[in-house]
Amino acid sequence: MAITAAPPTAPTAPSSARTTGKQSRRNTLIGISFILPNFLGFALLTLVPVVAAFGLAFMEWDSYNPAEWVGLDNFQKMFGSDTFWIALRNTLYYGLGHVPLTLLCSLGLALVLNRKLRGVRFFRTAAFFPYVTSMVAVAVVWNMLFNPTMGPINQLLTTLGVSSPPGWTSSSDWAMPAVIITSVWRDMGYYMILFLAGLQTIPVEYYEAARVDGANAWQRFWHITLPTLRPTTFLVLILLTVGSFKVFDLIVVMTDGGPGRATLVLSQLIYREGIAQGDFGYASAISLVLFVIVLLVTVLQFRLGERKDR
């Protein structure tokens, strides 16, 4: 945590120990008064539910019956349900496509757009704009682009000589790739910004020195750009991974989990079981699994990141 150490209290006026005690109590009251308006809302609607989620996972509870402690029953039901496993597999599938592709595309964009060219500002804005476009508009437009018979994407593929282009969102094999392509298109501009920020911290002297030593463009990229970008790449990787486990809007609007259960993901299953069906306990058990996975992946990435640092 990047909490800066509080600088030593500068004795502004000679004060006895008693007034200091009084002062610190006063400070505490003032400090709390600043935080309170935000904290009340935050505690009630974030902190309490986070804690409650853990308890609910071990209870049987719906809108009609009182809550009852059932131990691990919810988890037993979950691990025996093939819908849960399908949703878990789909979530991982989405992540395995979304994370590396977005990483590569955003890094590529940042490298290309990190130079002195006329109009580079326009191109950066263009690359970023999909990220501020609403998921609904994005999903609706791409659904049309992906239209299997008349859509421009399949027309292009046919022109390029693909005899039977994929059915995209109407085919259970191709629905997930369609969702992944759309998500990469939407998110790459955001991560491009983070990469651009990283690229601008690399001292120009590094490149000059490398050039004097006769390094070519590829060698400069491999030995200077990539290693210096490591903290950024690491940050992007974590954000992307956590984000991919939370995917919801895009899938709900684009495919609604279909065809069949081909694109059903965990957060959608939590919504269906917990809010649409009202099975609070069971849904919380799935939430807990989602949370533990996200936590494990994050910790694992931190560990790997540390090891490479040495």
Binding site: S24, A53, A197
Partner: protein
């Protein structure tokens, strides 16, 4: 967790690009570069072109072989007809109301709390801040069910209150502003204290005016996120007269899925306000993202 901080806060879309200067900047290379980025930009923008061009066609002209990128005849009346097809005015008004209210509350309570977390020294401050930050890392999906149960018991489901309560007190805003306040020298506050200004006075007269760029960043990020949010309204708002633009657009697609042109007209209308806000406040927007690297 100190890793979750972008390396620098100086990036902007029009910032000075750092390019290794060298002997190889000859015209052919530059030309190739231009061709490359033009192709990329076209690829990125094609969906928007499709959206705008389809919104100006008749339904039967949207899907043609080969694809028609410029409408043969511009059907401007689509932009008039849509207001009578769906209650677009209501949707826009609801979206605007929610976005403005949530943004205002988030900036107000967030900046207040950020002051308490950065400029006042008190016991337990840093521990509480860690609790704040830790919840940013917990996916919302992990606690959305207990949240829903609470708001349901309180009778707030299907009211704007549910969304306002859920989204106006986010930890993200506190984090973003605190990071900025830390860069404001403490000596400034110290001097004001000696001059007899109360802590509230320092917040209002010194910190608020100095942190305008950070407040603008947070306001823009919050506004756009609320305007674009689908999941929140989807879960909490069930009656049609409370729907936001996003819900309205989605339901329109469900009801008239053959009405391609009109669907695109609706999409364009839902995107335009964000386009305007984004282009006006681009600088703050990008800065907010680069300083935090912690959104979503």
């Amino acid at each position: 967790m100190s890793v979750i901080e972008a390396p620098t806060a100086t990036v902007s879309l029009d910032g000075p690009p750092v390019v290794p200067p060298g002997p190889e900047r000859h015209p052919v290379r530059t030309a190739v570069m231009y061709v490359l980025i033009t192709v990329i930009a076209l690829g990125v923008l094609v969906p928007f072109v499709w959206m705008v061009s389809s919104s100006l066609k008749n339904n039967n002209e949207v899907f043609t072989v080969p694809t028609q990128w410029v409408p043969r005849e511009f059907q401007w009346h689509n932009y008039v007809d849509i207001w009578s097809r769906i209650p677009m005015t209501t949707y826009l008004r609801n979206s605007l109301f929610l976005s403005l209210t949530i943004t205002f509350l988030q900036v107000l309570t967030g900046s207040f709390a950020a002051y308490g977390f950065s400029k006042v020294r008190w016991r337990g401050r840093d521990a509480l801040f860690v609790a704040y930050i830790a919840t940013i890392a917990v996916p919302w999906q992990a606690y959305m069910v207990p949240q829903y149960v609470m708001l349901q018991k309180a009778g707030l489901v299907n009211t704007f209150w549910s969304l306002i309560l859920l989204q106006a007190f986010g930890a993200f805003g506190v984090f973003l502003l605190r990071q900025y306040y830390l860069t404001i020298p403490d000596e400034l506050c110290e001097a004001a204290r000696i001059d007899g200004l109360s802590e509230y006075g320092i917040y209002r007269r010194i910190i608020l005016p100095l942190s305008k760029p950070a407040l603008a960043s947070l306001a823009l990020l919050t506004f756009v996120a609320t305007w674009n949010d689908y999941m929140g309204p989807f879960i909490y708002l069930t009656s049609n007269d409370l729907w936001t633009v996003q819900l309205g657009l989605k339901s329109f697609v469900g009801l008239f899925d053959g009405d391609y042109a009109m669907i695109m007209t609706g999409s364009v209308i839902s995107v335009v306000p964000i386009l305007v806000i984004f282009l006006l406040g681009q600088k703050y927007f990008i800065r907010g993202i680069a300083t935090s690297g912690l959104k979503g």
